[in-house]
């Protein structure tokens, strides 16, 4: 919202205020004055053209000598209307114009130019249209003082406050009178209301117009009528004020309706009385009913929209935009003025559905002050009489079903102080309420406050605490810490599990990523492991962010691609994030992706490359850290889409599936990329126990090695299982220490060497006893699995 401070001064005296300091005070009290615009551009001055001659080498350029006060500049100008003895706007070298255009010294077709003569469009004060362009540069009145600020002669000697309003103050601060109350409460001053008394003629509007309201969604409807208006340009002060507040001046009549909206916050609607006829019916629209609005668009209405009709057809969409069939034009003489209040929610929905937002709808949506509805219509008559030569008809037709019971809220001094953490006295609180112009009664240190209609946002005790507090000043609050029991906080639910995993993976050298939850349908369809129904957004902003992901793998692959493209070859990353399938199925996935080298030192020839077994080791390490030691197993899996069928496995805890690990299918990724994904929801279902100390075995152990030759497709875990079974409880540990393929064994065979550790917790084992056991293990494994040992 743009507030003109010179206009503001009509209602609250701020003539003695430093406007920048005042803006800070207002901001600190809670209405944010985001910027203070003063029309004053450095190096932009009034100039006097002393000489103007044609450029020797051009048919449209002029070479001018321009007096700018402290010097005379030679400036080349292409505008047709430049001429000697004219007062012009000069941007000198160094001047910064809108669009970040800096004026520099230049040479135009061999002639030096030290600045620019400006058109209004170049100052951002007019649109840059061909018509405006044709007007050429702006010529200032002759009395303009050379070297002074040219804005003073453009009606722009004003300071503008740009308000960044919170939604609760949209209603009262989007108009100058409402904002004046805010300024008055900050300064402790009074507000003066504008003149509204016109001199009506004898004719009454009631003789010429009938108004019917048959919907409760219009709680107030006032209509007056004026005749014989003369459509012309608005007076300068109205034009300037509208321009300064960011609205375009159209003609005196239309401008007056906008002027009043900026003054009272009450949008008015002007109908051409002759086009309208003599009746108004306010009702809900019929489904499918149509109206052509002022912007020449045909709008289809529904039963949820409020319309103003002439008894039959709609002439305006209430609170949003008028119809073209009843609008003011250059031939209008008689005007019906509407000043009404409609249901804010209905206006909001209609404007949203039609995607039609206007200055009026914005104000209706936030609720209007019914006290001003009548003032505004009277003020319109006053201004039309004064500036459009209107004859004002007497009387106002009024429909009014508004409950005017004032809102009353109570607050005690104690409550004020306990909520604010301040020590206000009764006098302090009184002063705040008086500055706010909130009438109150005081009963035993409890304030019973009648809330003015203009402050629709204030309704209860805590609101009053805020009003009193913000005016008293939050800067007076001295911070302290709440007096509470001492305790250490905890991670609730699975948060702690995630933090532990994260901590471990980072220690193991993996980098955490953070990617977007929303993905594209093509990404979504790529991975099919344990897939549910994907959630699609109702109205996505773009297709590539339309689906809530079920897996993080594709996001990590994107990170992989990005980094490869930027020359990063070694990629060891993980992410933990929520995933969703169906709206109520939430999971949290841990996803790891590894590619390239994990650890290296080139000159030493050390190189640990990411592969299946490295990733397997990393996840085993992590799961063991979490307490799953001895409960982890892997099972071959050849049917996870987009994973390598021969290098992928299911990860089990206690033989229950929690995720998968493997190599990404070469069709999806040519390079060797390994990944895993684990459902933390499933993992968390598997409880772990805390660490318990166990005495180490006092008796020595004996280690025996054996290599079995087996078919290529036999998995080592089968052999290990058999070794374990036949080894019994004296066999403490089995380690694989060699894998061999090649000469000496068959083509479809491999040899795996195991190191077996035997130990007893009760005694020292004899070597005979271990040899017997060891040989029995070999025999049993060979017989059971049909293997042979390799010598």
């Amino acid at each position: 919202m743009r507030i003109s401070t010179s206009w503001l001064n009509d209602y609250v005296d701020i003539s003695d205020e430093n406007l920048k300091e005042l803006a800070d005070k207002i901001t600190n009290a809670g209405v944010n004055v985001e910027t203070v615009e003063e029309y004053n551009t450095p190096n932009l001055v009034v100039g006097h053209v002393l000489e103007c001659e044609m450029h020797p080498d051009s048919d449209h350029l002029h070479v001018c000598k321009v007096d700018v006060g402290d010097e005379v500049l030679q400036i080349v100008c292409g505008a047709p209307n430049v001429g000697a003895d004219k007062k012009v706007i000069v941007s000198k070298v160094g001047c910064l114009l809108p669009g970040d255009i800096e004026i520099k010294k230049s040479v135009m077709r061999g002639v030096e130019s030290n600045g620019m003569l400006c058109a209004l469009s170049e100052l951002g004060l007019e649109e840059d249209t061909p018509e405006n362009h044709a007007k050429g540069i702006h010529i200032l009145p002759d009395e303009a003082i050379v070297g002074s600020n040219p804005y003073n002669y453009l009606g722009l000697d004003d300071t503008i406050y740009n308000l960044d309003l919170n939604p609760n103050r949209e209603a009262d601060c989007t108009n100058h009178i409402g904002f004046a109350y805010e300024v008055a409460s900050v300064l402790g001053r009074r507000v003066e209301m504008p003149e509204t008394w016109s001199n009506p003629v004898k004719e009454s509007v009631t003789d010429e117009l009938e108004v019917d309201v048959i919907t409760d969604n219009c709680t107030m409807y006032n209509a007056r009528k004026v005749k014989n208006v003369v459509i012309k340009e608005s007076p300068e002060f109205i034009r300037n004020r509208l321009t300064n507040c960011g609205m375009r001046s159209i003609n005196n009549v239309v401008d007056i309706s906008n002027y009043i909206m900026l003054e009272y916050g009450q949008p008015l609607h002007f109908f051409d009385a002759k086009k309208l006829g003599n009746s108004i019916l306010v009702r809900m629209a019929e489904d499918g009913e149509e109206i052509v609005t002022l912007d020449n668009e045909t709008r289809k209405l529904t039963g949820e929209d409020i319309v103003i009709t002439d008894g039959e057809k709609p002439v305006a969409i209430a609170g949003i935009m008028g119809g073209i069939n009843s609008c003011i034009d250059e031939n209008t003489t008689d005007v019906v003025i509407e000043s009404a209040i409609f249901d804010p929610l209905k206006i909001r929905y209609t404007s949203k559905r039609l995607d039609l937002k206007s200055e009026a709808s914005r104000r209706y949506e936030h609720g209007l002050n019914h006290e001003y509805t009548m003032n505004a219509i009277d003020r319109a008559c006053y201004l039309l009489e004064k500036y459009a030569d209107a004859e004002v008809l007497s009387d106002t037709i009024t429909h009014d079903i508004i409950d005017k019971t004032p809102k009353v809220a109570k607050v005690s001094l104690e409550k004020i102080n306990t909520l604010l953490g301040l020590e206000l006295t009764l006098e302090d609180a009184k002063r705040s309420l008086e500055n706010l112009q909130f009438p109150y009664e005081l009963k035993e240190s409890e304030f019973i406050v009648t809330i003015p209609i203009r402050r629709g946002d204030v309704s209860m005790r805590e609101d009053l605490v805020e009003e009193i507090g913000r005016l008293y000043g939050y800067d007076k609050i001295v911070g302290k810490l709440p007096k509470l029991d001492v305790r250490r906080g905890v991670y609730v639910g699975n948060v702690g599990l995630r933090k532990s995993i994260s901590k471990r993976l980072r220690s193991l050298g993996l980098n955490e990523t953070r990617t977007y939850t929303l993905i594209s349908p093509s990404m979504d369809s790529l991975f099919q492991y344990n897939r549910g129904n994907s959630i699609t957004l109702l109205k996505p902003m773009s297709v590539d962010k339309s689906i809530v992901r079920q897996t993080l793998l594709l996001s990590l692959l994107n990170v992989y691609d990005y980094n490869i493209a930027h020359g990063v070859k070694n990629i060891n990353i993980y992410e933990i994030a929520n995933t969703y399938s169906d709206v109520d199925i939430e999971d949290e996935k841990l996803t790891v992706l590894m590619s390239g080298e994990y650890m290296s030192n080139m000159w030493q020839g050390i190189k640990v490359k990411a592969d299946f077994y490295l990733l397997k080791g990393i996840i085993e390490n992590t799961l063991e850290y979490l307490g799953y030691k001895g409960r982890i197993s892997f099972a071959e899996s050849c049917d996870i889409p987009n994973m390598h069928p021969g290098a992928t496995a299911i990860i089990n805890i206690d033989n229950r599936e929690v995720g998968f690990i493997g190599k990404i299918h070469p069709l999806l990724c040519k390079q060797e990329v390994y990944c895993l994904e684990i459902s933390l929801k499933k993992l968390a279902e598997k409880k772990t126990r805390g660490f318990k100390f166990k005495e180490m075995n006092k008796f020595p152990s004996i280690v025996k090695d054996v290599a079995f030759v087996m078919p290529d497709d036999m998995s080592s875990s089968v052999v290990e299982k058999e070794i374990k079974r036949s080894g019994g409880k004296l066999l403490l540990d089995i380690q694989v220490f060699d894998l061999y393929k090649g000469d000496n064994i068959g083509n479809n065979e491999k040899s795996i060497a195991y190191s077996l550790t035997f130990e007893s917790e009760e005694r020292t084992l004899t070597s005979d006893e271990v040899n017997d056991l060891f040989n029995r293990v070999i025999d049993e494994v060979c017989t059971k699995l049909n293997l042979r040992i390799r010598n």
Partner: protein
């Protein structure tokens, strides 16, 4: 006899001079002290002597034996020392060559900042609570005093999923609602809730459609804005240094009353004014306020008995300020060349 002893002495000494190997030494040892060694042979001759001579000769024989052993031992030690020195000399390495690259995993900038803030809050007795990102309109808006059609909903343009009842949460506040509702005995609450949030914003330098918030909620008897200010002071100093100051500006949120925005004095210019703080000396960090009585009532708390404060801030914004990141999208590109691989805060 005596002459023989003397001769051996001289010979032995001579043979041990100079550079000899450990093998040479072993040979020398055998030559003198071995079974057929010179000294052993001499002692074999002992039995042929008279008692008187035995006595005298035996003594000098012992002397030479002791002498020979100590001389050889000494030489042995010096040879071993020389060998060790040579070995150490050979083993000298160029310590300036690069070490093995042991990768250090790092958190994302956002997670790193969240974790360091969590550390602070855990120590102050706040629990860390998370909640669903696919959320009900009821928790994301309605119970937070944002009924359907409330204009303040415009500020949070939301991704809806189903019938405008299910959405991607636009703030982490629903976690506060869930915590209050599930606290059956309506006892005091001290939580922070960090997490991902979503709004229909086009991605640009200061907005991303997905971003991260951290909110805090404290409910107890007699909690005031002054308690809030003191708490936020601690956060500000923790993040931006001991000299950082905090200020409140009146603001509006539907779920707090009174509501404030909290600014911190600019860490870059110490409040003097610079481009980072747009020459104001202050940087807006987040929003806060006293929990709205309607929100308390909605969640079963009695606003006449308890009060509470809530605060929230965007982690991306904080990280931009703290790490000097100028484009919020940076947090989501995951460029591994950027590695905040160090202990933070």
């Amino acid at each position: 006899m005596k002459e023989k002893v003397e001769k051996i002495k001289v010979e032995l000494k001579a043979s041990l001079e100079g550079n000899i190997s450990i093998q040479d030494l072993a040979n020398i040892k055998a030559e003198y002290l071995g079974k057929k060694g010179k000294i052993t042979e001499l002692s074999n001759q002992l039995k042929d002597l008279s008692n008187e001579e035995k006595k005298e000769f035996g003594k000098s024989l012992n002397e030479i034996k002791t002498y020979a052993i100590s001389l050889i031992d000494e030489k042995s030690k010096s040879i071993e020392e020389a060998i060790l020195n040579e070995k150490l000399e050979k083993e000298k390495i160029d310590i300036s060559l690069p070490g093995v690259t042991v990768k250090n995993g790092a958190p994302s900038m956002i997670e790193g900042l969240i974790e360091s803030l969590e550390e602070l809050f855990l120590s102050m007795g706040y629990d860390v609570v998370e909640g669903p990102e696919v959320e009900k309109d009821l928790y994301n808006f309605e119970l937070l005093n944002l009924p359907k059609g409330h204009p303040a909903r415009d500020a949070q343009d939301t991704f809806y999923i189903k019938d405008e009842e299910i959405l991607l949460r636009s703030q982490t506040s629903p976690v506060q609602i869930r915590t209050m509702l599930s606290n059956e005995d309506k006892s005091s609450i001290r939580i922070i809730c960090p997490g991902k949030t979503y709004r229909r914003d086009d991605d640009d330098a200061t907005h991303t459609h997905q971003f991260t918030q951290m909110e805090g909620l404290l409910i107890d008897k007699g909690i005031s804005l002054a308690d809030l200010k003191g708490t936020l002071d601690i956060i500000a100093k923790y993040l931006f240094g001991e000299k950082t100051e905090t200020r409140f500006r009146s603001s509006f949120y539907p779920f707090t009353e009174p509501s404030v925005e909290f600014d911190v004095s600019c860490h870059a210019c110490s409040g003097k004014g610079c481009p980072i703080c747009k020459h104001t000396g202050w940087i807006t960090v987040g929003g806060a306020g006293m929990v709205h009585p309607k929100v308390l009532t909605n969640c079963g708390y009695n606003p006449d008995i308890v009060s509470g404060f809530a605060f929230g801030f965007g982690i991306e914004r904080l990280a931009m300020l703290k790490y000097g990141v100028t484009d919020a999208r940076t947090f989501y590109t995951n460029d591994l060349r950027v590695n905040p691989d160090r202990r933070e805060v």
